[in-house]
């Protein structure tokens, strides 16, 4: 569906995307994950033919984006990050315009627009001026626009940014419903987002590709690092008990999450093998209960995206170019 090889993009002297190669196969939902400023949006803008690349080769559904740009653009439904729309148009007018622009035949236009409004659930605002819509609806109109020509490939730049949790859930459900018919490439800087909705993940930071693989593989990299515990009873006794558990490096008291209780964060030692973490949690809970404390909440804490990135950048074999002495 998408084949990117040795993609490079310079903005003046700044290198935004540095030799990135990856493939996306048909029917997959792929997360394009990276911290802010990693080059996600730039890459997606190149894939959608909005920006030109400095060097490299990109094929969308078998069409080279430089040589057969119109065919490549016809097979993509792209939603930019800011979801730009024309405020003076009504939703149905806008989608009809977009359908015509994307070459949907006149006889099929009405059906395509209705389908897109149905899928993105914007039917109830079909005749509302876009300028008067809330952020959540605008986002969904953007999705309807990406869907309106029924393209095989959807490229969504931060589709859930700025939405409330309820709307995020709706958008996720919508995207999940698209798999099978469509291939989806979506960018995000939230790790849990990818874990919930994507089959595969492409990790990118500072313009470079860090890792690519199944979501489960990436999840493994997200090692549990600590345990949040809330107990009722003697706080000092609880801290002592936790410190006594094998595998706990340090215990820090944090602001109490509930009244008449104390909360701690116990960090695992680096040496503790992943396989023993669950056993250690059990040991910690039974020790706390044994000491006569009321255990109210126990929650494992995973490493953050930043930690995963730090892990990956540290673990990656050094670039041969970097090993050479700078001349």
């Amino acid at each position: 569906m998408i084949s990117v090889s040795h993609l490079v993009k310079h903005y003046g002297s700044h290198v935004a995307v540095d030799d990135v190669s990856f493939r996306v196969e048909k029917g997959q939902i792929v997360g394009f994950l990276g911290p802010n400023g990693a080059g996600k949006s730039t890459t997606l803008r190149i894939l959608s033919s909005f920006l030109g690349m400095t060097s490299g080769k990109v094929e969308i559904c078998g069409h080279d984006i430089e040589e057969s740009s119109l065919e490549a653009r016809r097979s993509v439904g792209y939603m930019p990050e800011a979801v730009p729309l024309y405020p003076e148009m009504r939703v149905v007018e806008y989608l009809t315009f977009r359908a015509e622009l994307k070459g949907v035949a006149r006889s099929k236009r009405r059906g395509h627009v209705d389908d897109a409004m149905e899928k993105a659930s914007v039917f109830d605002v079909a005749n509302t001026l876009i300028g008067k819509l809330s952020k959540g609806y605008r986002q969904r109109v953007g999705l309807a626009d990406a869907l309106v020509a029924n393209p095989p490939l959807l490229i969504l730049d931060e589709p859930t940014a700025g939405l409330d949790p309820n709307q995020i859930r709706q958008v996720r459900e919508l995207i999940a419903g698209l798999s099978g018919e469509h291939t989806v490439l979506l960018s995000t800087h939230i790790l849990s987002e990818v874990e919930q909705s994507c089959d595969r993940v492409i990790l990118i930071a500072k313009g470079k590709l860090l890792a690519e693989g199944k979501t489960a593989d990436i999840r493994k990299m997200r090692r549990p690092t600590a345990l949040d515990v809330t107990v009722r009873g003697d706080a000092q006794a609880a801290a002592r008990v936790l410190r006594g558990i094998q595998g706990v490096a340090k215990v820090k008291e944090v602001a109490a999450k509930q009244p008449a209780s104390a909360s701690f964060q116990a960090t695992w030692t680096k040496k503790l093998p992943d396989a023993e973490i669950e056993g250690t949690i059990e040991a910690a809970v039974s020790a706390l209960v044994g000491a006569g404390l009321g255990v109210r909440e126990v929650r494992p804490v995973g490493s953050s995206l930043e930690d995963v990135f730090a892990e990956l950048t540290r673990g990656a074999p050094p670039d041969p170019a970097e090993r050479e002495e700078p001349s």
């Binding site: 803008r45 033919s49 920006l51 030109g52 730009p84 977009r98 015509e100 070459g103």
Partner: protein, 249 residues
């Protein structure tokens, strides 16, 4: 020319759904009505002028009123075209759709030209009025309208380019007004530079004043047509290059 029609239609829609086009047409009709009234009043009070020129000739040429209207109305017609899309970011959805750059530029430009032509449409009523009281030279009328459309088309083309190379509508407005003013002043230079000098020739060539006097008398000079075609095509060509260049920004 993939995408021309939808873009053309959407731009026309944007003109007429926002008050811009209506305010423009209203102001235009008001000013041109006053202009026409002044010309007719002038001719009615001095019948001896009638042998020299016709009221229509005076309406389309000879007076400065025509250029004031163009100068005031053309820049706001084109300032939105690209600057607004770039400000709001809609240029991203537009250019990632399967559209060719010439189709985008022409779709936007021709929509402005259509509104411009629509603006002139009510002035046909003046012909009907004059026809009731005297003889109308239809050839001169045809030439006059051709001149008006060509001059406007050139100005709109400059405005389209300005909208593409500036980031805000206001800068596009100022830039367009500035270029139109320079062209007009150069044209006035025809009357103040000594005849036979190179500067005089240049001024005479770009003089929209002399052009409208010719066209209003029914003279369609191919040199004028070449000049107009240049003023239309060159900025449009540069605009397509500018729009293409955004991909490398």
């Amino acid at each position: 020319m993939s995408g021309f029609w939808p873009i053309f239609k959407r731009e026309l829609f944007a003109f007429f759904v926002t008050p811009i086009a209506w305010v423009q047409i209203f102001v235009f009709c008001l000013v041109q009505g006053m202009h026409f009234y002044l010309v007719i009043d002038h001719f009615a009070s001095q019948p001896e002028l009638a042998g020299d020129q016709t009221p229509l000739q005076a309406f389309f040429g000879n007076t400065v009123l025509l250029y004031i209207v163009l100068f005031l109305l053309v820049p706001p017609m084109t300032m939105r075209l690209f600057a607004e899309e770039r400000r709001s970011g809609t240029i991203e959805t537009l250019m990632s759709a399967p559209v060719s750059t010439p189709a985008v530029v022409l779709g936007k430009y021709l929509s402005a030209l259509t509104v411009y032509a629509a603006m002139w449409l009510p002035t046909v009523a003046y012909l009907v009025i004059l026809r009731r009281t005297g003889v109308v030279d239809w050839h001169a009328v045809g030439a006059s309208y051709l001149g008006v459309v060509l001059v406007g088309a050139g100005y709109l083309s400059v405005g389209t380019l300005m909208s593409a190379i500036t980031r805000t509508q206001f800068l596009a407005l100022v830039g367009t007004a500035f270029v139109l003013l320079v062209l007009f002043i150069l044209g006035v230079g025809e009357f103040v530079t000594p005849a036979g000098s190179t500067l005089h020739d240049i001024c005479a060539h770009v003089s929209v004043w002399a052009q409208m006097n010719d066209f209003a008398s029914g003279i369609v000079d191919s040199r004028r047509l070449v000049y107009d075609a240049t003023l239309i095509l060159l900025p449009l060509f540069v605009t397509t290059r500018v729009v293409d260049a955004w991909r490398w920004g």
